[in-house]
Each structure stands twice: as C-alpha cells, then as structure tokens.
Symmetry: C2
Subunit: 386 residues, 2 copies
Amino acid sequence: MDCCVIPLRHGGLSLVQTTDFFYPLVDDPYMMGKIACANVLSDLYSMGITECDNMLMLLSVSQKMNEKDREKVMPLVIQGFRDAAEEGGTSVTGGQTVINPWIIVGGVASVVCKPNDFIMPDGAVPGDVLVLTKPLGTQVAVNAHQWLDQPERWNKIKLVVTKEDVKEAYQEAMFSMASLNRTAAGLMHKFQAHAATDVTGFGLLGHANNLAQQQQSEVSFVIHNLPIIAKMAAVSKACGNLFNLIQGTSAETSGGLLVCLPREQAAKFCSEMKSHSSGPGGPGVAGGAWIIGIVEKGDRRARIIDKPRIIEVAVLCESGAEVFLTVFGEVDDVNVSYVDECIMQKTSKQTNKQTSSVFGTRLCPAQLRGRLEQLPSEPLGGARSV
Amino acid sequence: MDCCVIPLRHGGLSLVQTTDFFYPLVDDPYMMGKIACANVLSDLYSMGITECDNMLMLLSVSQKMNEKDREKVMPLVIQGFRDAAEEGGTSVTGGQTVINPWIIVGGVASVVCKPNDFIMPDGAVPGDVLVLTKPLGTQVAVNAHQWLDQPERWNKIKLVVTKEDVKEAYQEAMFSMASLNRTAAGLMHKFQAHAATDVTGFGLLGHANNLAQQQQSEVSFVIHNLPIIAKMAAVSKACGNLFNLIQGTSAETSGGLLVCLPREQAAKFCSEMKSHSSGPGGPGVAGGAWIIGIVEKGDRRARIIDKPRIIEVAVLCESGAEVFLTVFGEVDDVNVSYVDECIMQKTSKQTNKQTSSVFGTRLCPAQLRGRLEQLPSEPLGGARSV
C-alpha cells in the first residue's frame, strides 16, 4: 500500500499517512515545490482519499547556496508546495528545514478518515479494466532536457528528436508531475474502483506488480497500451537500455494513478477525467486517462505484452514552448552548481555555466497566468530573474 | 508551539503532529536511532500528550557508505528508532529512505487527541515555578568527546577536565538524549502544569523566551539554577564564547521539558520524576527534574540571573565509563569518514583513522543489558563489531 492506515481509538476512524521526499529534478523552484507536494498527496489519492487534514513540509537548503540564491529560490519552492497543498484543499502547518549538501523537498500528508473515505487496494477481479491517469516518460523527458547541453549525450538521441521536441516534452513532464491526482481519487468512488496505486519510482510495471500481489483474488494484470509523453518512446529506444521505458520499469515522479475499474465503468471514468481538464497546466495532461490493459485470472503478477501500442501524448497547450523560448529563454546569472548536483544526484563541474537558466522560471501561458495571479505584486521581470 | 494542532471534522478531535530530522551526533548507531525518535516524540510530550498513534521514519543512507557498513549500521539505527517508539507505546509503520551525502535520521509523530489530552502551552501565571527535566550540556559533551582526538582542541580544555570526565559526560549526554520525556508528559496532567516546551536547538534561554512570548498572561521567566552535565560548565567556560552554555543558548538535542507548574506542585512533580528512574540508562538522568526558576509579572521574556547556581549532574550509573573502556574500547576497522562528516557536519579527512570506534557500540551496563535482551540472538562480539 502507498499509505499506512492506523485504526484509531476514536469511533471507527483511521489515521492515513504518507511521507515522501526527494531531490530537485526540474530547474524551476516553484514547479519543484508543486511536484513535491503533488507527489506526497498522490499516495492518499491512490486510496481514493480526496481530503487531506494536514501537510508538513520537509526541506533542506543546499550548503553550497549563497544567501542571495537561497532568498530567491527557497521561498519559491515553499510557495509552490503551499499552492499545491491549497489546490488539494489542505495547508502546510509545520515541518522541518535543515542545511544539507543537496536540496531536499518533501512532505508528510495526513488525514483522519471514516471507513468509506478510502478504498483498500485489494479488490480487483477478472474482467476489470486497467486505467492510467498520466502519461509515462517523465524520467526520460527530464534527462533528455539535461542532455541539451551535453553534446556526447545529445548526439545519441538527436536522430529521433529535435531540441524543440525535448523542450516540449520537458514542459509536459513538469506540468504532469505537478498535477494532483485528486480528480482521479474522487472518480474512483463514483465509478466503483476496485483498487489503485500511483506510479512512481518503480515504473508502471513495478507498481502494477506490487498492486497485483496485494489482490485478494487470484488475478494478473496484462498491459496492452503505453501512453507516453510525445517522442519519449523514441528517445528511450535510442538510448539502448538506459531507461527501459517500453519495458515498464523507467522511474516516474508524481505519476498517474493505475486504477482497476469494472469493465462497464472504465470508459466513463476516462471520459469524465478528460472533462476535468482545468488543471494548472491548462487543458493538458491533468485531464488525461487511458485504458491500458485488463485484469485476468492469474498468479498475481503484471506483464506488458510484446509490442504494446504506444500512445503518443502530445502537448496540448501548444504555444507553451514557443512562448517560453521568447520570454524566458535568456541567460541567467545564478550560480548553478548546487542545483545541477541535486538534479542529477551527482557532482557537477558546471559551476560557471552561463548558458541556461537553472531554477529559472520556465512557464507556459496557463501556468504563467496562475503564477502572476498568485504573486500579484511581483512584476514579470521579478519572476524571470530567479 | 512544538506541534501543529489541527481540529478535525470528527467530533471535537484534533490531529497533533510534529516532524524532526537531523544528522548523527553520537557514534553509536543504535543510540542515534533512539535519540532521533526521542527527539521527535518530545514535541508531543511537551504538550502533555503521552500517546502517539503513529510514527513514520525519515532516513538517508550516506552515499559514501560501502555495502558492508550499511548493512551493519543502518539496521541498528532503525532498531534504536523502533525500540524508542515502542517505549513510547507506538510503532513505526512507514517512512522514506533516500541516498544522501550525509546520514539523516528523523521521523514524524502523529496522534489524534481529545481536547483534554493536551495542555496548550499558554497558561503560565505569576507565582508559577519553572522545572527542567533533563540537564543541559549535551552539545558541549558531544563536542568535547570529539576533541579527545584533536590535540589543538583538547589542549584548550584539558586544564579543567580529564578524558574520563569527558567520556562520562558523553555517556550521560547520550542516555539523556535517548530518554523519552513521556513520564514528564504524564506528570504534567497530574500536577496541573500550565505550559511547557522542550529544550532543543535554541538552548534553554531560546526556548524559554519562545514559551514566555506565547503566554496569555503578562509574565516573565527568571531562571536561577542551571542543572548541567558534570564538568561541562567548566568546559564551556574554557572554550570562551563557543557554546554560551551558562548564557543559556547552547543548543541541546532531545533535551528535557521546561514546565511551568503551580508553586505548590513543583516539588511533588520533581519528586515523582525522580522516583520514575527506570529509564533505559538506569537510575540516571531519565528520572531527573530540577526547579530552575520562577514566573513573575513581566513583558513575556525570559532571562537568566547573573551568576546562576550551577547544579553539577553526575553520572549515576557510575561504573559505566569504566566498563565501556574495558569491554568496548578496542580499535575497529569500520571506515569512518562518512560518519565523522555527519557528526560534525563538515568534511573530514580521517578516512583511515583507526584509533576509535565510530558508530561503535559504547554501552554502560544498564544499556547493555537492555540491548542484549532486545537482541537475544546476537552475541556480545556481534554487538561490538559494528
């Protein structure tokens, strides 16, 4: 299970809790805060829980950050985290901050539930349909975006993808990771979901296997379709075995819910997910849902068929990348070594790199609108200068 | 306040939560786990809460640890954390582990309370008495212990303290930090405490000031007595302004509760604390409590009088240090660089240091008994070889 469920001493109530923290993987601090919060909440959502009573934030500031960077960057991380929490109907009331070599962002989500508030993830039966609510490929997109500045890496993938493709995929991944799975959690109740999990570090197949193992019935999951951020399947193939995206084991961050639904409900679930496409990223992935497989009788394992159908999930806010290039593509003077180190979890020698904004504000229009409304006193130049 | 208190949608209940994580500061991984857990729970105890419904553990493994060290060290950290949680009547049901340059140990404590389960820390009135339930000086003792191997540091303090004094103080500090404030939390109800906080990173005066500021009445706290781990006041003085222990701002880890009690209850509170001296450290600090000051009319500040009385708190399990030297003083072959780095939060060059066991098992008899009972299948040699 993605959460711990603790029966309380008080009238049939349970405490449901989860914690997650990790290192920056996008270079926009505000979006990183949103992603971290969405990722924590996702564990509650995967149990069909739509409310959260409290969030705590876990944060570390890099010891390599100078004061100027810290004062610019960390408030944006915190603001992103708070905004996502608010979107989830909760608020951040406490937490802990330390100094660390790497930046850490994470949190703790807690809710006290009545028995009907959550759906135990063990009720799948043969005949159910598997639905996934976000496209795969976040890890591939984030890495490919890093490689734009690394010629030896870029040369491996440039035959299958353009720089604009990669920038669009990175935007799509960022908005997807920052989107809450809350709508899906609510629809799990409406359409009588039998079980669900969220797709994160073990990849689609890893989490599908974990979920299959927990089922009360002797079932297996068979996956036929893989919705993937546009062009990232090709990038993954061009890299050989580096990601194993098509094999289902490429890590995802703040991925979608994998939901087992009664056959007659699955299409309605997907349709209603698509109509809820008013997420912060505009009419993009936040409203997505794809039927990806079926539940059969079996020995509690999951598998992907040979040659699964790849569903290319394109950027729907199409002008986003273009606007980003025009408005936010300038060089920034922020020292980037500590962020690079965090992003790739390795030591970087790019201390004096000046060619791309790191933790700079890269926004598509819908996101930009949201930001400016949230920070009305801050001029555009202020947002850009992070 | 040390916790967040979230009113719930369910019949007058509140969710009370706290999180804390930090880096190793003692070289015994089992004790480090206990200290981390005691430190997290302490925030609940400072509100007079004696129960905890759930613990999550936050952990990072050092990227510099080899597999052998990791397999020896991390299970002991986890075991220490779990044992302290069990002592607190709760259990660890989940958490998050990552790889990080430094080792991180921490947790999240949560409880769902009825209104009478906790004491809001704002009811102090003039005439109250201030009681402290653990001696001060943990930071000084931990640092002085590090300096045993650093001649230039040691030369500054060797006129006022012997190596044995420092080893005893370090043991005392370690047991004190690993002791739960749970007994004190229970007695806060029995003796009608008006407010409390726990003494940690801001030192006694810092936390006393914070507590004074929160009071409904216009009060001030005046501190006359400073119970301090034996010899550590002298060590602090010998170091000049490095710690400011006597000034009240030396950081403590997992310190005692500072409790505001009605004058007629304070002596009884202390007496009963002393009778509960069956903590894991034997009849030592776990059962301590000292009247350290008074609550007056004032402007919501705290101060320590000129020339406060220093109460030297001696090691009560007197043979502890001796036994440690005999049984556990041997050289160990564990690579220590990552631990040193964590302990002092600095880069260490002592990679091949062989002169002291680091994260080795240094136990006084009562603690050793406890360990062996908890790990019955592990021979003494096994415990020592960490």
